[in-house]
């Protein structure tokens, strides 16, 4: 075989132009562009997070403590390593505004700062005051959403706890906004010193103290982290530094980015269907050329090489177009994207994501063209003398089959490695493959049903419908290509629709039915009797629960560092709530062991949440060390019990005997289950009597979670739209490729007496049937995915959601109708005589 000869043949063949390859180029370019654009934006955000780590964190490093400030040793160590140390205290509280004797209350996350805050960056206010000026005396600033909720304007007063503050400015942006993660209430910033007399930071009140450190240039963050951890970890200290200033945000961007790249790969798979169809159509038209080449002595491998080179050149062109598009769009939209992001992004050219997109594009192009290319070897010279237009249909040989499997493995492997979330990539690949197989099977079923339908006696006389069904079920129909290309994109959309609707239903509709009305935190022990007296005598309250609460960090299990024993379990990440109870609270279900006897006064014992204990590998008799307020308490597990977090009621992983926590300052947490009408007066009375307590309205928290979920669903929907657009390109390609056949059919139908309306009805029905089939299959696949996610991942009930399903099916019909009817004009206008004679 001569490569040079193959190359010359390829070059000459390419002189024919690219007219048959528009869809090929569009599919590949769009898939590559989507992945390149998502990758570029992800890289830009991550780059921004890395470069601005110190600003986002508010310091080069941060040490945090719960319930307390740093002790003398910790302060001394920080002063030794840092050039400046800024201290902030974070806690939740209720901002209160009284107007005409009526109090408005809203939950806020208070940040009490010192004069050094922020160490890096600047706080943006409206009007544009310096922060120092805004916080002088009783000054405070708060987020616009909070001010609006309370009806506050700049200059108005409000109360936190027992102290009055003045709103001096609206907080537009604080440099460390993104580092905080998910907050239930909008922020308020004030001076730490201004809290004196507010009665908000009494012993046992839940608050965090953060120390932001400005370090000398060239400080070794890793070494400092190791040293700080060694010295203070067991005292509940948490370390964070500018290398990963906003870990929650970084992980979120990584996950969403990876997920969108995987959705992009689904788009590329859809594009692959179009690419494959374009190559097959091109090679079908080349049968005579291939047969001629064989007559002239060309070997099968030379011909294969010649066409592989042609497809290679076109694929390179498509990928190049995609890279230009995917690289340029984020740059062009940079101001828009940057304005939408809560973190500083540095949108610029990033070669890494473009290379990743090019690799996916090249592997997809090869994967989807190798099979049709391999068919060139099956064309015989005799085809010239028989029916040269007859397509060659054969399964690929074992070598091609092996190459296809290897390419698929390489593509999935690349996605697994490069996405950074191998599990998700493998599941996504399995999902895409499963969906493709399901769609192929569905396309076959649709064709079979259409064939049966076309022959059904009931349809005789309904010529347009029968013709449409005959065309869908008949040979050479485009059913498979349309169901595949449109179905995959619609399936992703349907799955998102079903999962989102079920999650929203579970959180926003079902949860409020079982969840309490309010969570009340920071009830001081001496306030508890009065609190309970007020709540329990309210006829609108049907249940109230209280429990003592402290926060503690699990540091050791059986004397070994906890992470060594239980790995990176969420229970070990930061501090957890700890409660105590002399006897098992009402309704407690013990799964193993027994609760300690009432009045027990021996060494500390503990009841641990059953599911979490199993995940962490704990067993009865294990010794768990919990650091509470800097003091280590080691308790023996004597029982495991069921803790249900799904009802938003009181649920503690750790419960200890009261004696174990004796002397530790603590507050109480309470849940109130009340009628809606009783809520407002109850809250008014409680807040007036106990200004230090914080009431979290569960409905508001649920709304906030719903909002985040909706945002996520929207991001995924945008990703799925890219898949759908690629699918539309394939559809348009299929419609364009079928135009010649439609022209011929229209000519024949007109010859035998069909008027244009009948021909149009036939075309429309044919498109609509295919679109509806793709939509129905997508709804089935999406429903299946929704059921699987809700049942196995969320462990919640699944209910089929009909509205999004109906939209999906209608969308499918509309898309195929538009694509189909867009190419119906020529067939309708063509004169039968010319069309038919041209084929003589």
């Amino acid at each position: 075989m001569s490569v040079a000869v193959a190359a010359r043949i390829a070059r000459r063949e390419l002189r024919g132009g690219l007219s048959g390859f528009r869809v090929f180029l569009a599919c590949l370019a769009l898939g590559v562009a989507a992945i390149a654009a998502v990758g570029s934006v992800r890289e830009s955000i991550q780059d921004g997070l890395r470069r601005n780590g110190a600003v986002l964190l508010g310091g080069d490093a941060q040490m945090s403590f719960t319930y307390r400030s740093a002790d003398a040793a910790e302060r001394a160590w920080m002063a030794g390593i840092a050039t400046r140390v800024s201290e902030t205290v974070d806690f939740r509280s209720m901002a209160v505004v009284e107007r005409d004797g009526v109090a408005e209350r809203a939950l806020t996350e208070v940040k009490a700062v010192d004069g050094l805050y922020p160490l890096y960056g600047a706080v943006e206010l409206e009007p544009a005051l310096p922060l120092d000026a805004a916080l002088t005396g009783d000054g405070a600033v708060m987020a616009r959403v909070l001010a609006d909720r309370l009806g506050l304007s700049v200059g108005d007063g409000f109360r936190l706890g027992e102290k009055a503050f003045t709103l001096r400015a609206i907080l537009i942006r604080a440099p460390d906004d993104a580092a905080g993660g998910f907050g239930l209430g909008p922020p308020t910033i004030l001076r730490r010193a201004a809290l004196e007399g507010a009665g908000l930071l009494a012993p046992g009140t839940l608050f965090d103290t953060d120390y932001r450190l400005a370090l000398p240039a060239g400080a070794d963050l890793a070494a400092l982290e190791a040293e700080a951890t060694r010295r203070f970890r067991d005292s509940g200290m948490r370390w964070r530094d500018s290398r990963n200033a906003a870990p929650g945000m970084t992980m979120f961007v990584e996950r969403v980015g990876a997920f969108l790249v995987l959705v992009g790969l689904a788009g590329l798979a859809v594009g692959g269907v179009g690419v494959s169809a374009a190559v097959r159509a091109y090679l079908d038209g080349k049968t005579a050329v291939i047969a001629t080449l064989k007559t002239l002595g060309a070997e099968g491998r030379t011909i294969f090489m010649a066409y592989l080179m042609q497809i290679g050149v076109l694929a390179a062109l498509g990928i190049g177009l995609g890279l230009v598009l995917g690289g340029a769009v984020p740059l062009l939209l940079a101001p828009l994207i940057e304005a939408q992001l809560p973190v500083p992004a540095d949108i610029r050219f990033h070669p890494g994501p473009l290379a990743e997109a090019a690799l996916y594009g090249a592997l997809t192009a090869l994967l989807f063209t190798l099979w049709p290319l391999a068919r060139t070897a099956e064309v015989r010279a005799a085809a010239l003398f028989r029916d040269a237009s007859g397509p060659v249909r054969a399964m690929p040989g074992p070598r091609v089959l092996a190459a296809l499997v290897a390419l698929a493995a390489l593509l999935v492997g690349a996605a697994a490695v490069l996405s950074g979330v191998p599990d998700l990539a493998l599941w996504a690949a399995a999902g895409i493959l499963g969906a493709l197989l399901l769609l192929v099977a569905a396309a076959r079923a649709v064709r079979w049903l259409a064939r049966r339908g076309a022959r059904a006696k009931a349809l005789r006389g309904h010529s347009a419908l029968r013709l449409a069904l005959g065309a869908v079920g008949g040979p050479g129909g485009e059913a498979t290509s349309v169901v595949l290309s449109l179905g995959l994109g619609l399936s992703v959309l349907a799955a998102v629709g079903q999962i989102n609707a079920n999650m929203q239903a579970a959180i926003a509709e079902e949860l409020p039915g079982v969840a309490p009305s309010y969570f009340i935190v920071d009830i001081q022990p001496d306030q508890l009797p009065g609190y309970l007296a007020r709540v329990e005598r309210d006829p609108g309250v049907h249940k109230v629960q209280t429990a003592p609460m402290l926060r503690g960090v699990i540091t050791r299990i059986n004397g070994r560092p906890a992470r060594e024993v239980a790995g990176d379990h969420w229970v070990l990440n930061g501090d957890r709530g700890v409660t105590s109870s002399d006897s098992a609270p009402e309704g407690t279900v013990i799964t193993q062991g027994a609760w300690w006897p009432e009045g027990y006064d021996g060494p500390p014992v503990m009841s641990f949440a059953d599911e979490e204990a199993r995940e962490m590998g704990l067993k009865l008799g294990d010794a768990v060390t919990v650091n509470i307020l800097g003091r280590d308490i080691t308790a023996t597990i004597t029982s495991f019990r069921v803790v249900d977090f799904s009802t938003a009621g009181i649920g503690f992983v750790l419960s200890m005997n009261p004696g174990a926590l004796q002397g530790a300052p603590h507050t109480a947490i309470s849940t109130i289950y009340a009628d809606a009408a009783a809520e407002a007066p109850l809250l008014r009375d409680l807040a007036a009597a106990y200004p230090n307590i914080t009431a979290i309205r569960v409905r508001d928290a649920i709304d906030r979670v719903s909002e985040v979920l909706r945002g996520l669903a929207a991001a995924v929907t945008y990703g799925a739209m890219a898949t759908l657009v690629t699918g539309l390109f394939v559809l348009i390609g299929a419609a364009a490729a079928g135009e010649r056949a439609r022209v011929f059919e229209a000519a024949v139908l007109k010859t035998v007496g069909a008027v244009r309306g009948q021909v149009l009805a036939y075309f429309a029905l044919r498109s609509a049937i295919l679109g509806a089939a793709a939509g129905l299959v997508a709804v089935f696949a999406g429903g299946l995915a929704g059921w699987a996610v809700m049942t196995f991942v969320m462990e919640a009930d699944y209910t089929f959601e009909p509205v999004s399903a109906l939209l999906i099916v209608s969308g499918g019909v509309l898309a195929t109708l538009l694509a189909g009817l867009g190419f119906a004009l020529r067939p309708l206008a063509a004169r039968p005589a010319r069309v038919l004679r041209a084929r003589e």
Partner: protein, 229 residues
């Protein structure tokens, strides 16, 4: 004498192509009587197929009139022409022109369905049996030989019982034996239904089976040939 079933008067046909306008027919006038079989002969490019297409309303005359069954085809729009063909004309082509996504039975039933015949499939079955394809009704065109496909095309043209059958070199793509069989069928159908038949052909022996032969040369009726007959 009864009015002709087809009457063409001073018909011209000019087609516009990439290389400019090409005059195909120059002032052709021709009458065809009801029940007559007419052979249109002439060399390639003489305009005989174009003339046949004008008779079927498949092509529009540039000037002149084409009357069929007393109706002016040149005054009709596309849909009116389609309805006229549905009721009065059957057309057979050299390349069969069956719809590949339909079975033989569906191909034959289609014009009957379009005409609103309630027994379209029963009549289509009957027609296919008449052309010897009782066992091939559920086959797609791609599964049949050229001869079989042309028989389906004949059945399709004859099924609505048209007043006129127009056949454009119906044996052109077939071998001798198949061609002869098709011609027997065509003339048999014509005899059975009493339709008028206009046949374009290159083969003198086929033309000889017609009642009358009209020759065309360079888009005009070949007077010399007409005179010779």
């Amino acid at each position: 004498m009864a009015a002709p079933i087809l009457a063409l008067k001073d018909v011209t046909l000019t087609l516009k192509g990439n290389a400019g306008a090409v005059e195909i027919l120059h002032g052709v006038s021709l009458d065809v009587q009801r029940g007559e079989t007419l052979g249109l002969v002439g060399p390639s490019g003489s305009g005989k197929s174009s003339l046949l297409m004008l008779m079927g309303g498949l092509e529009r005359a540039t000037s002149g009139t084409v009357m069929a069954m007393g109706q002016d085809l040149t005054a009709m729009n596309e849909d009116q022409l389609a309805r006229f063909r549905r009721q009065h004309m059957g057309v057979v082509f050299q390349s069969f022109h069956l719809i590949p996504t339909m079975t033989a039975l569906e191909n034959v039933a289609t014009p009957l369905e379009l005409a609103g015949a309630p027994d379209a499939f029963e009549r289509a079955e009957e027609e296919l049996r008449a052309v010897g394809l009782a066992t091939r009704m559920d086959h797609y065109p791609g599964q049949m030989s050229g001869g079989e496909q042309q028989r389906v095309a004949l059945a399709r043209a004859a099924a609505p019982r048209p007043d006129t059958l127009l056949a454009d070199e119906p044996t052109g793509n077939l071998d001798g034996a198949n061609g002869a069989a098709i011609m027997d069928l065509l003339f048999g159908l014509r005899d059975r239904h009493g339709a008028t038949l206009v046949l374009v052909t290159h083969a003198p022996e086929l033309a000889a089976r017609c009642d009358r032969i009209v020759g065309l040369l360079d888009g005009r009726v070949d007077r010399a040939r007409k005179a010779a007959e």
